[in-house]
C-alpha cells in the first residue's frame, strides 16, 4: 500500500469519525425544535452535547486540513468547485457554533429561541449539504483536464445526491435520538425513545437504499466492480437493521453502537466506491482526480504519517475519556458557572 492510499483511507476514517460524532450532535440539534417541552428539557438537550460538540467538529477541520496536505489537487478542485455548497456549510456551522456559547447568556425567551433555531437550522443544513457534496464526488461533476471544476452549483444536484442528503439528515436525526435516550432522563428520555422508534424504519430504509444506490453508481459511473463496495454496503445495511431491532427492544446502548457503525459504514461504502478516484469527472471520465494524480509527494506524506500515527491514538484516548467523564445522564438543571 502506498502512502497516498494510506492517506485516502485516513481521510475516509476522519470523515467516518466526523459522521459518527458530529452525526449525533447534528441529530440532537435537528430535534431541538420538536422534542423538548420546556426550558429545562431544552437545557438538557444542549447539555447532552455541550461538552463534546466542539471536539467532534474538529474531525471535520482535520479532514479538511489532511485533504489540503495529502491531496492538494483534490482540496483545490473540490473546495473551489463546490463553492456555494461550502459557503452554505460555513454559514450553517458559524451560526451553530456561536449558538452553543451564546444561548444561555440571556434568559429572554426570544433570545433563547433565536439561538435554538440557529442550532437546528445549522445542524440540518450542514448535514444536508455534506450528504449532497460528498456523494457528488462519486456521482461526478464536470472537471477540466487540470482538475478545475467547470460546472455550476446545479451540477451537484441529481437524484442520487439529493437522496444522499435526505439520508444523512434522517439518519443523523435517528442517531441523535438514540444518543438522547442514553443521556437524558424521565419524560424527555421517553419522548426521545419514541422519536427514535418513529425514525428507525425510515432511517434504516434510506440508509439501505443509499448503500445499494452507491454501489450501483460506483459500477455505473466510476468503473468499479460490485465487489469490494458491496461489502461495506452490506455491513451498513446490517448495522441499520440491527439499530431498528435494538431500538424496538429498548436496548438503546446497543442501538447507539449500531447507528454509530451505520454512519461509519455509509462513509466507508462511499469511499470504497470512490477509490481509486477522489473526484469523478463526468463527462470526460479521464479527467477524474485519482489517489495517485492528486496526492502530495512522498516526503510530505511520510512526515504526516509519522505525526498522525503518534498523535491520533492520543486524541482517541482523550476524546474517549471525555465521553467517560460526561457519561452521566443530564437533567437540564445542573449548575452552569460560565
Amino acid at each position: 500500500m502506498s502512502l497516498a492510499e494510506l492517506w485516502f483511507i485516513l481521510i475516509a476514517v476522519l470523515w467516518a469519525g466526523y459522521f459518527v460524532l458530529e452525526g449525533f450532535d447534528f441529530g440532537v440539534g435537528m430535534l431541538l425544535p420538536f422534542l423538548p417541552k420546556d426550558e429545562v428539557e431544552r437545557a438538557a438537550m444542549f447539555e447532552s452535547i455541550g461538552p463534546v460538540w466542539d471536539g467532534n467538529e474538529v474531525w471535520l477541520v482535520v479532514a479538511g486540513g489532511a485533504t489540503f496536505a495529502a491531496f492538494p489537487d483534490w482540496y483545490a478542485s473540490m473546495f473551489s468547485g463546490f463553492y456555494i455548497a461550502l459557503l452554505l456549510v460555513l454559514v450553517c456551522l458559524i451560526i451553530r457554533v456561536v449558538s452553543f456559547e451564546w444561548r444561555g447568556k440571556s434568559s429572554s425567551p426570544r433570545w433563547r429561541s433565536v439561538w435554538l433555531g440557529a442550532n437546528a437550522v445549522g445542524s440540518f443544513g450542514a448535514a444536508l449539504v455534506w450528504g449532497v457534496g460528498l456523494s457528488a464526488l462519486l456521482y461526478g461533476t464536470p472537471l477540466a483536464s487540470n482538475g478545475d471544476f467547470t460546472g455550476t452549483f446545479w451540477d451537484l444536484f441529481n437524484g442520487y445526491t439529493l437522496f444522499a442528503g435526505l439520508t444523512v439528515v434522517v439518519f443523523f436525526a435517528f442517531h441523535g435520538a438514540v444518543f438522547l435516550t442514553l443521556r437524558t432522563t424521565g419524560d424527555l428520555r421517553d419522548r426521545a425513545l419514541n422519536t427514535a422508534r418513529v425514525l428507525a424504519l425510515p432511517a434504516a430504509a434510506l440508509a439501505a437504499a443509499y448503500a445499494v444506490l452507491t454501489v450501483i453508481v460506483a459500477v455505473d459511473r466510476n468503473d468499479k466492480s460490485v465487489f469490494p463496495p458491496v461489502l461495506p454496503a452490506i455491513l451498513a445495511i446490517a448495522a441499520a437493521l440491527l439499530a431498528v431491532a435494538f431500538v424496538f427492544r429498548g436496548r438503546t446502548g446497543q442501538a447507539f453502537v449500531a447507528t454509530a457503525l451505520g454512519a461509519a459504514l455509509l462513509v466507508a461504502t462511499l469511499f470504497t466506491s470512490l477509490y481509486p478516484r477522489v473526484m469523478v469527472s463526468s463527462p470526460n471520465f479521464g479527467n477524474s482526480l485519482t489517489v495517485s494524480n492528486a496526492s502530495s509527494a512522498h516526503y510530505t506524506l511520510a512526515v504526516m504519517t509519522v505525526v498522525a500515527l503518534l498523535v491520533l491514538p492520543v486524541v482517541l484516548l482523550y476524546q474517549a475519556w471525555t465521553y467517560h467523564v460526561f457519561r452521566h445522564r443530564v437533567t437540564g438543571d445542573a449548575a452552569h458557572y460560565l
Binding site: 461538552p51 474538529v58 482535520v62 482540496y75 473546495f79 459557503l87 456561536v98
Partner: protein
C-alpha cells in the same frame, strides 16, 4: 474586459481573505491572552483556597468563552477559503503549506476543543486539580495552534525547505519549515501580542468597575495580575518587534522599504515619525517629514550606519530576476500600518507603566480620568494587531508566496465574480451581526457583579430589546 474581470476576481478574493483574517484575528489574541490569565486566576484559587480568585476565574472565563466561539467559527472559514478562493495557490503550496494546517488540527485544535469542553462542563465532574489541568492543557492547545498556523503563514513570507517539481512546491525539510527564523519570530511576537491583548482587556474591565465604584475589592487583585502580565509583555514586544524588523530587512527588504517609504537606498537612514507626501512613484520626496536621524538604519539592520535598500533599487533587482514589472506593495498603506502598529504598541506600554505606578501608589482607583484611559486601552491591542497583519500581508504583495507565486495568478479561475461578491457580502453581514452581538454580550458580562462562588453564573436581566 477579460483582464478587468480577472483583476476584479482577485480583488474580491483578497477582500474576502482580508476581511476574514482581520476579523478572525480580533478573537485569536483574546483567546491566546485571556486563556492563560483565567488559568492563572484558577491556579491562584487552587493554591490559596481564596474564593475571590474563583469568582474572578468564572467572571473572566465567561468573557473568554463568549469570544472563543467566534474564533472557532471564523477559523473554519480560514481553513476552507484557501481551497474555495485560491485553488491555484492551494495546488501550488499544498505539499508544504497544507502539512502544518493538518498538524494544527491533529495536534492542537483537537486538544484545545476537547479540553475546553472538559473545563466548561467539568466543574462538578472532575477533581479540582484535574479540572485546573484541563484549562492549562486547553491553553497549551491554543498556543500550539498559533504556532502551526504561523509556520504555514511564515512559509508565504519566507519559503524554506522546499523544491519546485512540475510547478508544485514540494517539501524537502520539515525541520527547516518548522524552525524557520520567521516562524519562531512570528510566534513569539504573536503570543506576546495575545498576552498584551488579554491583559489589557482584563485590566480595562477592572478599571471599568473602579470607575463605577463597584466590586473594587474583587477586581483589585485581578488588576494587579493583569499589570504584572501587561507591563513586561508589552515592553518585551516592543523590543522583540523591532528586532523582527532586522529579519524582515534580510528576507523581505521590499516590505521594510515600503514601510518607511524609502525610495532610494540609503545608509545612516533617518526614521520618519510621520511624513506628508512621498508615497507614490511620481512623488517620491515628502513635502514634510519629522525625522529621527539614524533610527531606520538601526531598526532595520541593528546598526545606526547600516544600509537600507530602497524601493526603486529593489524593484530593479526583482525585475532582473523575475522579469519587468512592479514589485512594490502599496507604499502609503504599509507606511501607515507600520506606524499605527508601533505607535499603538508603544502607547499600550506607556499606559501600562503609568497604571502600574498608580496602582503601586494606591491612587489608581480614584483617578477617574485615567481609569477611562485604561478602559479605552483595552481596545488598543486590536488596533495594533490588525495593523500588524496589514503590514505583514499587504507588505508581501505582489507575491502570495514571496518570490515564487504572484497573488494575481493564484485565485480560483472557476469561481465567478458574482459568487465571490455574494459570498463576501454574506460573510460581511454575518461578521457584523456577530460582532454586534459579541460586543453587546461582552459589555453586559463585563459589567455584572462577579457571582459569589456558590451561585450560578448570572444570566443577566433585563430582557434584550431585539
Amino acid at each position: 474586459m477579460h483582464l478587468i474581470l480577472a483583476s476584479t476576481r482577485v480583488d474580491l478574493a483578497r477582500g474576502q481573505f482580508a476581511t476574514t483574517s482581520l476579523y478572525h484575528f480580533l478573537f485569536v489574541p483574546l483567546t491566546l491572552g485571556l486563556g492563560p490569565i483565567v488559568a492563572i486566576f484558577q491556579t491562584l484559587w487552587h493554591r490559596s483556597g481564596n474564593e475571590a480568585w474563583l469568582r474572578l476565574t468564572r467572571f473572566f472565563g465567561t468573557l473568554f468563552l463568549i469570544n472563543f466561539a467566534i474564533g472557532v467559527a471564523t477559523g473554519l472559514v480560514q481553513e476552507f477559503q484557501f481551497g474555495m478562493n485560491w485553488s491555484v495557490y492551494s495546488r501550488f503550496v499544498g505539499n508544504v503549506f497544507g502539512a502544518p494546517l493538518a498538524v494544527e488540527g491533529l495536534a492542537a485544535f483537537f486538544l484545545e476543543s476537547t479540553f475546553l469542553g472538559l473545563w466548561i462542563f467539568g466543574w462538578d465532574r472532575l477533581s479540582p486539580r484535574l479540572h485546573l489541568a484541563t484549562l492549562w492543557i486547553a491553553v497549551a492547545g491554543t498556543w500550539m495552534s498559533a504556532y502551526f498556523i504561523l509556520v504555514a503563514n511564515s512559509w508565504m513570507q519566507d519559503p524554506v525547505g522546499y523544491k519546485i517539481v512540475n510547478g508544485q512546491a514540494q517539501l524537502t525539510s520539515v525541520w527547516k519549515l518548522i524552525s524557520s527564523d520567521w516562524a519562531l519570530y512570528a510566534f513569539v511576537h504573536t503570543v506576546l501580542a495575545g498576552l498584551t491583548a488579554g491583559a489589557a482587556v482584563v485590566f480595562g474591565v477592572c478599571c471599568w468597575h473602579f470607575v463605577r465604584k463597584r466590586n473594587i475589592d474583587v477586581f483589585r487583585p485581578a488588576a494587579k495580575v493583569a499589570l504584572i502580565v501587561l507591563v513586561p509583555v508589552s515592553l518585551a514586544n516592543l523590543w522583540f518587534g523591532s528586532h523582527f524588523g532586522i529579519l524582515v530587512e534580510r528576507l523581505q527588504p521590499m516590505k521594510i522599504a515600503a514601510s518607511e517609504a524609502q525610495w532610494s537606498t540609503c545608509s545612516h537612514c533617518a526614521f520618519s515619525v510621520f511624513q506628508i507626501g512621498g508615497f507614490t512613484e511620481s512623488d517620491q520626496t515628502p513635502t514634510y517629514s519629522l525625522d529621527i536621524p539614524g533610527l531606520l538604519s538601526y531598526l532595520a539592520t541593528g546598526s545606526f550606519s547600516g544600509t537600507v535598500q530602497g524601493l526603486n533599487n529593489l524593484n530593479d533587482k526583482y525585475a532582473a530576476q523575475h522579469g519587468p514589472g512592479n514589485y512594490k506593495p502599496p507604499v502609503r498603506a504599509i507606511y501607515w500600518s507600520m506606524r499605527v502598529m508601533a505607535g499603538v504598541g508603544t502607547l499600550i506600554a506607556l499606559i501600562a507603566i503609568v497604571s502600574a505606578y498608580l496602582l503601586w501608589r494606591r491612587r489608581l482607583e480614584r483617578l477617574r480620568w485615567f481609569l477611562w484611559i485604561a478602559v479605552a486601552n483595552s481596545f488598543l491591542p486590536f488596533v495594533a494587531t490588525s495593523a500588524g497583519w496589514v503590514l505583514t500581508e499587504v507588505g508581501r504583495q505582489p507575491w502570495i508566496v514571496q518570490g515564487l507565486l504572484r497573488t494575481s495568478d493564484a485565485n480560483s479561475p472557476n469561481v465567478t465574480t458574482t459568487w465571490l461578491g455574494i459570498s463576501l457580502a454574506v460573510f460581511i453581514a454575518l461578521y457584523v451581526a456577530l460582532l454586534v452581538v459579541d460586543i453587546w454580550l461582552m459589555r453586559r458580562y463585563a459589567g455584572v457583579d462577579p457571582a459569589p462562588p456558590d451561585e450560578q453564573a448570572p444570566a443577566p436581566q433585563p430582557v434584550p430589546s431585539f
